[in-house]
């Protein structure tokens, strides 16, 4: 089979699969179910092959078998401990390896939190809240004022959202705390609205990608050559 023929078959299968998956939009049917399960099976098989070829074979099997690093065999019983979770009698053995990994992950979280949040706290704490006349760009002076306004808005929303999630005291419906908390809630709702808008964009993009593929499929097949 030539490369061109193979490409034609691949594109044709892609068209069939796309149409099969989208057929659910008309109504639930067996063709959709078939392609859904086919996709899951393919993804699972692909992941197993990739894990073997890119990870286990190159980093464990070959060094162990070809390079004389025999001690790598010890990883096999250690990794196998995970599967004892399915044994009622020997389930405690799985806890050994799970405990080790939970400990590792917990330790990593300390570094993770610092790496993630510290720069954010630093930036929030050092925001410019006053216009410095010496730093105003004379060509575009409004930028300095806009930045300061944006920073005030940022600080106000940050404070209000933190107040919203502060449950240590009662937020009475007539109190100032309640009003600040409500402002925080509205700010979050605006953010969630933006997220929802972006979600629509993402879904549209996926559909556009598939329709683009279907429209250009004949072209892709003809460009594949004899």
């Amino acid at each position: 089979m030539t490369d061109g023929m193979l490409k034609t078959i691949v594109v044709l299968l892609g068209v069939l699969t796309t149409l099969g998956i989208y057929s659910v939009l008309y109504k639930e049917n067996k063709i959709f179910r078939f392609f859904e399960h086919l996709y899951l099976g393919l993804a699972g098989g692909y992941a197993i092959a990739a894990n073997w070829n890119d990870v286990l074979k190159t980093n464990w099997w070959e060094p162990m078998v070809n390079d004389g690093k025999w001690w790598l065999v010890l990883l096999l019983p250690a990794g196998s401990l995970f599967y004892f979770i399915y044994s009622k009698k020997n389930g405690w053995m799985a806890r050994l390896i799970f405990g080790l990994f939970i400990g590792l992950a917990a330790g990593q979280q300390f570094q993770g939190c610092a790496g993630d949040y510290w720069p954010k706290i630093q930036t929030a704490a050092t925001k410019t809240l006053w216009v410095d006349p010496a730093k105003i760009n004379q060509e575009y002076p409004v930028a300095a004022y806009a930045t300061v306004l944006n920073n005030w808005l940022f600080m106000a929303i940050l404070t209000a959202v933190m107040v919203y999630f502060f449950f240590s005291f009662e937020q009475k419906s007539t109190g100032a705390i309640n009003k600040v908390s409500k402002f925080g809630r509205y700010a979050m709702m605006i953010a969630f609205g933006a997220m929802f808008g972006n979600t629509i964009m993402a879904r549209m993009a996926l559909l556009i990608g598939r329709i683009y593929f279907l429209i250009h499929a004949p072209e892709a097949m003809s460009s594949s050559g004899p």
Binding site: P119, M204, A205
Partner: protein, 290 residues
Amino acid sequence: MNILNNLDRRMLYLLLAIVIAIPLLAPAVTKPLPKPAITGFTQSYYDTIEKVAADPGAKNKIVIVSCNFAAGTLAENLSQCEATVRHLMMRKLKFAVFGFSDPQGRELGQQVVDKLAKEYDYQYGRDYVNWGYRPAGAAVALLKTAVNDLPGAMGKDIKGMAISQVACMQGIKGVNDVSLICEFAASATLPVWIQFYQRAGKSPIPTLYGPTSVMATEAVNYVESGQLQGMLIGLKGASEYELLLQKEGFASSASASLSLSHLLIVVLIVLGNIGMFVERKQRAAAEGGR
């Protein structure tokens, strides 16, 4: 008005498919539409690569192109990845394709490189390398090891060659030899770079992000705090970036479909609301008349 409330949803799907297909079938129809405006996120993304390319030290460093996506988000992530790889090639920067979220990522990244390599005379080994896929569960430990010993942590490339032997990896020892991180993601993989690698060296590594648009809102605070230097928001971000590069690809041809589909959704939401209000009014009138 009952038509609006009882419209078969399949008619809406069909309408949506038609609206999307027209600009793709007849691009001339959408020519009068304005080009997408370049947002600050995209502009700073472009400027960061230009800045890295202008740094003489970057010639001896490597860019990491982290492809953490799969076929499900091709339309967004592949377009972003393609435009970025093109920019890296235009500026003759050495790079490494890598993925730790989904095994498809390293292959999709390779497809992008294969598509563009001839145009920019890029050769495997000499100009770029593919580190392959590593499981997500091991990503943190791997990157922490890669801080001081990048070739040792990555082991072998996608062709089975020791990474330390690959030509473009000569002189690359650890985090201080990485000039830029470009992360294309369909799930929350960015924090791994931010938390464990970006600031582990002498100076923070500039980091760029290409998320699906669903994830973009959550990443804005990273841009605000300076942890990200730029971001491409989904397909729209990719089309803006293609405009900046003056190399139109899939994202540019899809931007009209994207705009029109949004317009259709807005119109349908307005019509749906009108239908609901009219029906409510009619019901109230009927109940009052009883």
